[in-house]
Subunit: 467 residues, 4 copies
Amino acid sequence: MYPRDPFLADKLNEECGVFGIFDQDGLAVEEITYYGLYALQHRGQESAGIAVADGHTIRYHKGRGLVPEVFDEDTLDTLKGGKIAIGHVRYPTCGDTSLYNAQPLVIKYKKGFLALAHNGNLVNANALRTELEEAGAVFQTSVDSEVIANLIARHIDEGLETAIQNTMSKLRGAYALLLMTEDKLIAVRDLYGMRPLALGRIGHSYVVASESCAFDAVDAEFIRDVKPGEIIIISQDGLRSIQTPVPLKSGLCVFEFIYFARTDSTIDGVSVYTARKEAGKILAAEHPADADLVIGVPDSGTTAALGYAEASGIPFGEGLIKNRYVGRTFIKPSQAIREQGVRIKLNALRKIVKGKRIVMIDDSIVRGTTSKKIVEMLRLAGAREVHMRISSPPVRFPCYFGIDTPTKEHLIGARYSVEEICRIIGADSLGYLSIEGLLKTVEGSGCDFCLGCFSGEYPIAVEGKAE
Amino acid sequence: MYPRDPFLADKLNEECGVFGIFDQDGLAVEEITYYGLYALQHRGQESAGIAVADGHTIRYHKGRGLVPEVFDEDTLDTLKGGKIAIGHVRYPTCGDTSLYNAQPLVIKYKKGFLALAHNGNLVNANALRTELEEAGAVFQTSVDSEVIANLIARHIDEGLETAIQNTMSKLRGAYALLLMTEDKLIAVRDLYGMRPLALGRIGHSYVVASESCAFDAVDAEFIRDVKPGEIIIISQDGLRSIQTPVPLKSGLCVFEFIYFARTDSTIDGVSVYTARKEAGKILAAEHPADADLVIGVPDSGTTAALGYAEASGIPFGEGLIKNRYVGRTFIKPSQAIREQGVRIKLNALRKIVKGKRIVMIDDSIVRGTTSKKIVEMLRLAGAREVHMRISSPPVRFPCYFGIDTPTKEHLIGARYSVEEICRIIGADSLGYLSIEGLLKTVEGSGCDFCLGCFSGEYPIAVEGKAE
Amino acid sequence: MYPRDPFLADKLNEECGVFGIFDQDGLAVEEITYYGLYALQHRGQESAGIAVADGHTIRYHKGRGLVPEVFDEDTLDTLKGGKIAIGHVRYPTCGDTSLYNAQPLVIKYKKGFLALAHNGNLVNANALRTELEEAGAVFQTSVDSEVIANLIARHIDEGLETAIQNTMSKLRGAYALLLMTEDKLIAVRDLYGMRPLALGRIGHSYVVASESCAFDAVDAEFIRDVKPGEIIIISQDGLRSIQTPVPLKSGLCVFEFIYFARTDSTIDGVSVYTARKEAGKILAAEHPADADLVIGVPDSGTTAALGYAEASGIPFGEGLIKNRYVGRTFIKPSQAIREQGVRIKLNALRKIVKGKRIVMIDDSIVRGTTSKKIVEMLRLAGAREVHMRISSPPVRFPCYFGIDTPTKEHLIGARYSVEEICRIIGADSLGYLSIEGLLKTVEGSGCDFCLGCFSGEYPIAVEGKAE
Amino acid sequence: MYPRDPFLADKLNEECGVFGIFDQDGLAVEEITYYGLYALQHRGQESAGIAVADGHTIRYHKGRGLVPEVFDEDTLDTLKGGKIAIGHVRYPTCGDTSLYNAQPLVIKYKKGFLALAHNGNLVNANALRTELEEAGAVFQTSVDSEVIANLIARHIDEGLETAIQNTMSKLRGAYALLLMTEDKLIAVRDLYGMRPLALGRIGHSYVVASESCAFDAVDAEFIRDVKPGEIIIISQDGLRSIQTPVPLKSGLCVFEFIYFARTDSTIDGVSVYTARKEAGKILAAEHPADADLVIGVPDSGTTAALGYAEASGIPFGEGLIKNRYVGRTFIKPSQAIREQGVRIKLNALRKIVKGKRIVMIDDSIVRGTTSKKIVEMLRLAGAREVHMRISSPPVRFPCYFGIDTPTKEHLIGARYSVEEICRIIGADSLGYLSIEGLLKTVEGSGCDFCLGCFSGEYPIAVEGKAE
């Protein structure tokens, strides 16, 4: 399969989104999970799955594709009658697109059934696999959920809660994790709170989701974020929280605010919208430009562009138009077509950019290939100058916690200076938001942040960190 | 199949888009047509088709779905080796979604093969069918192209050009029409120029398309619009134009500027972007509001909202966020979910609308159901006041020229006054752009406009016009 | 798509099967037609279609594949509520596998709707097409039904019955034809009765079908065969027959008895089973063999083998076993696999053939490639001698009436003598049934037979008959 | 999904077929496995899978459907380049049709990769699962292969061969098992040899398969059967055999000869064809009939019918014709159609049965529903008498070793005497082959047989054997 978006695939990519519900109001849990996952679709388009528990057993369906492609009325019908549900959307890392890696993972173990949905990445997964294999475990997938399931199964004699705590003490890395037994829904967030996870309510029923936008989609009320190191257990008896010991500083992935999360979500107390708009404003202060028009690369650059425009007084306009129709597959353009410079996904609005000095805002530069194309497109459309502004610092280091980063030789920020990048992409000037500026955009959250991809300093030591 | 967009289907809908190419440079005509159609996908998502001619015969492939769903590398391979191609994307009217109505229509007649791709609607199609049936014709589809093909076949002894002219003299209604023989590409626009059609060039090869955005997609250069009543014949000998006699006033569909066309297209000399932005500005003058924030209903209301903001001085912001993932199918929400008020496609950005007096710009109100939901959503998100502004006049009459309009009882503008509509949708105030204001947005085009859906006055008499 | 049966495709192939019903008992006509077509599946596996009439309009569904692949409960649902139905299964000639050639063909003409399902082939189709094109007709398919529909439409002012008669007077060739209007079912058989067509009854409802086995499938009672040149009109008023003038001698395709028809059908008074068994008996008399065992090439050679065994006194046995699972597609075997002599479809039963002198009965030899493989397979399995006996005369001439015959250079009987063929396929002896013997197998039918593929003498003159 | 064969599903059903190859000749192992599995398709139609090893890793593809439906040229391409392959076709027991239960099962464990394909059923699977779960194992499927994989993984420190032996010592039940590591192919047969497994050769390459017909399909030479309790290890160093200790008496499933295996296979020294023919002969002696014609229920009853005819001197004939086209799905017949007595799969040949006293041979009666229908069909076709003869004893007990038997209340032989069954199915007389007769048909094999479904006595004690 050719990538969905061959001409704009130049982004860091998220691994997953999770959603769960424990019903106390007679709700159709499978349908609510469907809509919840649909709202989280931006977090993963490779596969989707839903598992439901009805007190006795767990049923599930998963498949490759978007949520509305994987589920239809017939498949949802097979999931009816449940009281609890968890769901998962997945972005594949490492070219691993096997159906067998779709989640939730459902296992049968000593105590019955267990379903797991995981967002994040363990840095010691291989070590844990080896350890488990030494003890006789066999693996059928390459997902971390299978490691976690095996660990829980091996600690289960101590009871489920203790088993989870003991498992957490072995896991190093990022995880926003949903577990479901026949009669319980359990939400766990890693000790650093690296991946977001929020708790909400529909009537007397609890919901959990990677982002608050999923709550809005199903008309749930946001209660609070799950805390780093927290285990929330929801059963017929209500909700119970166990707080495991956590390090002094947490490490929420700051890229959630820059690009991953949906603009209408609020994560750990900070509105994604506000953070992005603020980034634009600070960027205007850090890298002003003498220009006629501010434009954003749709869709992710728009909010920061509005902020830049507001702060700089330069008018905002729509200079780039995006084709909204993205089918599951796309033919691979022939060489001729590629050279011809086809503008399939984005088109510059000649009328508005012609003769203008343009400030163009994008959220990040990963490989630089798309940026180069957009600058060219604007010049062809008559832009007099193109000043590129990036609402985040240069991405210079890989992520070890579940974000798909290209290797260093393809990471333009790792190889070149800002001046060089500016020359490579052909802009008249280039300015990145500083790390300090970035941190100001998320001020007011109670938490600390992982800035690893910018600074190379990670909250958790990463062995064998490649240079 | 459930509609693609169950919660936002409250729009007037276009019937089709067409694209054609006559190659003189060794281009892959089927691939270029694929990308051209993809750029016109917004004009029709029900079916797509491409026919190619190679001097001897015509091959074709068509099917239901989006362009990237209908065509893959295998099907495009079966179309390789052509010199001419025409393509079509279709929006179905009247619930008629049969594959047999997909276009291009390819026929074999006395002189060989003929392929047709048609955007528009004939108002005398039934009379022409009856006349042809009286003369022995049989029909296999319900598309106008089949009527046109039969007329041409019956006039062909006079030669193709004369046959086309004689056919045009019988057709009453809107048509932007592409014809392809084994060795010719012919573009025809109806006498009033009701549907757009433009001519462009890639090197020495000519292209034609419903909108100029398709030219940008394939890196073609815009030459000019096809004129009302013009026949353009492209063959190995080059391009020839025949201008048939036309009425004094033309009648381009003004809704192309309001909603149908893509923002980055220019039609008959007017930039769609400029028209939309201008509409917002005039709207600000006609219906000012005492407010804190201007927002647009994405995606179509955004440009006008920027115009309103600019003219009024009220800041623009993103108050509504749209889910970008639309699969081909979608489960039909259960009653419970519907009542619960699910926000599947749009979500209000609480952070930005809370406590504010909002001016919300949309391009049109058709049934009013969506407008009502959005107003509610904004209020739930904390908006203090919601002032709705519509960048076109009230739609009060049906279209007979190919636009899918609901019956009068579902057309809110036909049944209620502006005050009543305001009450129904629950807004604090409601203002529509005046017809005069609308005409100002497209000033500078050389043409006249059809305003039938607003005024009930159509360029062409429509018999049996229901009241 | 690779052929369904890559290793046994060495047969003459039928073009189509038709089925129709006019309900007077409240039957589900679409479901009965589904089962009727399924019983006729051996007559065509390329596409299937059903059209139903309900007094007002005609609905239809057709597609590529086997009957159970084309129709499911959803598609049959869309055909519910009809009173009349006609259906068609199709075998494609000339590599033409386009969906657009699937039948029934449904047209709209002067008098309303008309559906047609045709089995057979017109020899003057091209001339008729040209004539119709001269008169302005346009064609969208390459099927004869479209020609017939156009002819009827052009004669319709004389009334439907006269139009059909006038149309028949123009058609030269083979046709078993079903027509359906909104309220009538009409069955027509060509003047020579070349293709079979039978009339039956379920309660007060009439059914028509290519073969009587379809009646058994739906528990219908056989009434009689439709006569050459007969038009049967079934309406609310009952059944009416019009006998058009016919030539002195009819010409039923004798290959129906040899291979095409199902063993359990009776055609024009002769049981297919009896004819095949008789062929085996006569073959034993004409070409005795000194052997230990008679075997048949499954499935078509089995009945004749039983006849040969009975007449010769040599025991019958199962010497060849067939794999019953044929999927829609099959990978194309690599060269290595082909050379290795894979036995995918047929396997020789070593246990039974080893050391024996075998008489192997097949119904016909077309290209000879399969016969050669089977002889080799038997020898490898230890057969001492292989005496091939064919229950029909050598196929030496093409069929112009709807049967797919290879060109002369691939028709082994056209190029080589029996002795040469024997040598080519590697048999110890080879004997074909004589034409006289063949005619004895169908004695007792009231009709005459087309023996064209054996004798080169056709009931109808074929212009441009290639030599 | 509705069963493939709704009107003839009245059979005991096999669970699986396996095929494996270790290449030493540069063969395309994935393609040979495809054809091998295709020859074993009768052993399982629910899902198919192939795994290949290339010395370093294991790749696999599996899916639901027939072999040619699951694999196409693209999927086989992804398996190219292997040196070893194993494949599996599956018949689902217990309504368990999940894709996740398709085989081969591929796992990663301490020593690398392991693929397993299993035919049979363990009677202590639940106990072993519980034991493994107690030790911390988690399960993702319900197939026995997963239990076996876990056991091997837990014993692996002793080396693979010892691990397999230790695992075998824990397994109770039937298994013909193929294992594949990165560089070894291992074939294992249970201690009683309950399921068949044979060894063959193509050049210097070894193949293993459930039945010898798969060897014929790929032009392999049969070497010998794998022995009960034997482990065959094939590696670069050649073939090595380990014979584990076995009980005094073996217990090959005798139903392989009655119905499961293909007629052209030879199992443990006995030709399936010979056994079936012999069964017919003995049946003629045990239950003679005064009749005019012997017919077999196709396809499985034919061979025994030929034996009965030969021994009794009553002529054999084809009295029942089967529709050869079975699509993957089939509409569920409406009640009306069911009552009408549709003859969709089988049809009686009136011509041959009319007025005759018929002996009808079938291989077994399970529920009796189909037998009843066939008797009725023959009477309606004019049979004077119908004497049913069954080429096996009454099935009166469930199978615990992998054969899908209905519960006792649906097992007609468990509830009724032969006389009662005769009355229920409406035959004039009914005779079953005796157990002694049955054993005579397989005389000459070196092995003993499981007759559990006839006698209730199983080679292996079955705890909790329901009564």
